[in-house]
């Protein structure tokens, strides 16, 4: 692929290419949050302005009437001061009684990643109106939390079902492949190709089910990039060979990155199968920006300054420019997919999702008629250890 790539898919996480992951991160795609505090004294006054104005008018009326009754200036002044103090105290008391509750409510509802916990994060108020709102919130939170828990449970049960079923299916699949291997010959080789495709689809279904319950399911450790690439290529060997795609691996043995090997293999497998499916003769694996060293040139340079980047380049059909920004969308098949007629549109979506969850970056560049390039960025260890998200969710160990 030559120099310039006219189309670039934005990095996962940008508004254009964001994923709606359901569950805990849905709030990330909500409309922009205001950072100013919602509940301040000034706003309180403004909100209660009508009552204050009426009180002021009443006070003025009283003073005028006193003047009409012939009271002295000092008498009027005393009454005015008393009224003013009374008004101020009334306002202050009203503010103080409910300040804690409303300010907590405003703050928490913005901060929480799981809004259905709101009722338990706020102190139960005493005052009438505040209490009414609190009770309503409590009811909603309870119902939501139950729904969320049920949904999570369903998903987990489904995942377990898929795992069990997959293991069952793998047995006859393995047996069939061995029989085909033994028979040998053209026909058996064709059968083996189809069996491998079935196996690949099964893997996809399994990984999809796992991805839905992803929170605790990945373990990040030091892995050899070369081993992962080779494993992914060999897993799809028949498919690649059948499509005449040849891999060229320019990855060193000491290229070690922090990643979950199973998930990384899955992602690489998807990329390589895509390349083959869309006409690639050569699929080149190379590494840019090893650790702190800057990459040669190109848009990846800025990111690769701080990360190792695995680059997968193919010389296939490429992707139409209008489709490129949408490749990571769930269910997106684009012009290519429709032409092939066999795309589920889930492959790249899953890759993007998995990369996001395991703290990797993924970018796609393509030029129709030239080919496609995918870059996967791995954080260097220092970055990873500083990211508390990953620490909480994974087992970090030396391989």
């Amino acid at each position: 692929m030559q120099g310039e790539e006219p189309s670039r898919s934005t990095e996962v996480g940008d508004p254009v290419c964001d994923l709606t992951c359901g569950s805990t991160h849905a709030s990330a795609s909500d409309s922009a949050r205001s950072s100013e505090r919602r509940w301040t004294f000034a706003k309180f006054l403004v909100a209660h302005a009508p009552a204050a104005v009426i009180s002021l008018i009443a006070a003025l009326a009283v003073c005028s009437m006193m003047a009409a009754f012939g009271c002295s200036a000092s008498e009027i002044a005393i009454v005015a001061i008393v009224l003013a103090i009374a008004l101020a105290v009334a306002v202050a008391v009203q503010f103080a009684r409910t300040r804690r509750y409303y300010s907590q409510l405003a703050e928490m509802s913005e901060l929480l990643d799981e809004p259905w916990l709101l009722a338990s994060m706020v102190e139960q108020p005493e005052q009438l109106e505040a209490r009414v709102s609190y009770d309503a919130i409590d009811t909603i939170c309870g119902a939501s939390a139950r729904r969320v828990a049920a949904a999570d449970r369903n998903m987990e049960e489904y995942r377990q079902y898929v795992e069990a079923w997959m293991h069952e299916v793998k047995v006859p699949l393995a047996a069939a492949q061995l029989v085909a291997h033994r028979i040998g010959g053209m026909d058996a080789a064709e059968v083996n190709v189809e069996l491998e495709k079935v196996g690949a689809q099964l893997e996809n279904a399994l990984y999809y089910a796992r991805m839905l319950t992803l929170d605790n399911d990945f373990s990040v450790r030091r892995v050899s990039l070369l081993e992962c690439v080779k494993a992914a290529v060999k897993k799809n060997a028949r498919f690649l060979i059948e499509h005449g795609a040849t891999p060229k691996i320019d990855v060193r043995e000491d290229d070690v990155v922090l990643a979950d090997p199973k998930w990384l293999e899955f992602v690489l497998g998807q990329l390589v199968v895509n390349s083959a499916k869309y006409g690639a003769r050569n699929v080149v694996f190379s590494v840019a920006g090893r650790g702190a060293t800057p990459a040669q040139s190109g848009p990846a340079q800025a990111q690769s300054r701080r990360r190792t980047v695995l680059v997968v380049t193919d010389d296939g059909d490429g992707i139409a420019p209008q489709d490129v920004p949408r490749v990571f969308e769930r269910g997106f098949t684009g012009a290519n997919g429709r032409r092939q007629g066999s795309s589920t549109g889930m492959g790249l979506y899953m890759c993007a999702r998995i990369c996001k969850e395991t703290n990797l970056s993924i970018d796609l560049y393509s030029e129709e008629g030239s080919g496609t390039r995918v870059e996967i960025g791995f954080p260097i260890e220092r970055d990873l250890l500083e990211s508390s998200d990953v620490l909480a969710n994974s087992n970090l160990s030396n391989s």
Binding site: K170, V171, R182, P247
Partner: protein
Amino acid sequence: MDATIYIVEDDNTLCRELARILELQGYEVRSCAAGEFARAAELALEQGADMAIVDLALPDSDGHAICRDIRRSSNMPIMMLTSSTSEFDEVMSINLGADDYVSKPYRPSVLLARVQALLRRANPQLEAGTRLEHGGVVLDIARSQVSYRDETADIGRNEMRILRLLMMHAGRIVTRQDLMCEIWDSDEFIDDNTLTVNVNRLRHTLGSIGVPGGFLITRRGQGYQVLAPRDGE
């Protein structure tokens, strides 16, 4: 002396196919009958096995338990067959004394290579599985040499794998795709042209030690085949 391998696998087809592959390679194979899995460890030792292959997911008993039982009374190499890609199973296997594990679906060449490695490590004297013979041509896999009558020649890794696959399926056609898959398994990701080059080099080597031209033939549009003079009659 041929090594004896004991297979503990409940799926009949899988068990049969595994046995076939191993026997083709020159090993003696015994397997565990259905309903006997609880005594698998005992039977393995009774049958004088040099190595055991145990499937993790068995109905009557736990593959891990069998592994542990065998390990308790013997040092023979144990290979676990796993279906899951879960680390837990893999770590458990190793902890209980298994020497290696392979997950389904199996690539025959990978399986064989690992069996061979385990056996060689455990018992360097065992020779089975390292030589193939057909029509007077002898392939020494361990030394990567091919012999015919009195002549011997070295052959490269790719050529060796090609000849081995062809000889394992002697008399039948092996497709180009199968050959390429076989070589890819050894981390050489060759393309179609390179395969042709490798086969021609192999032919040349065979010719140089006097192997008749009709031994390795091309089946146009299908693949390659090795024949001995008596085949095809």
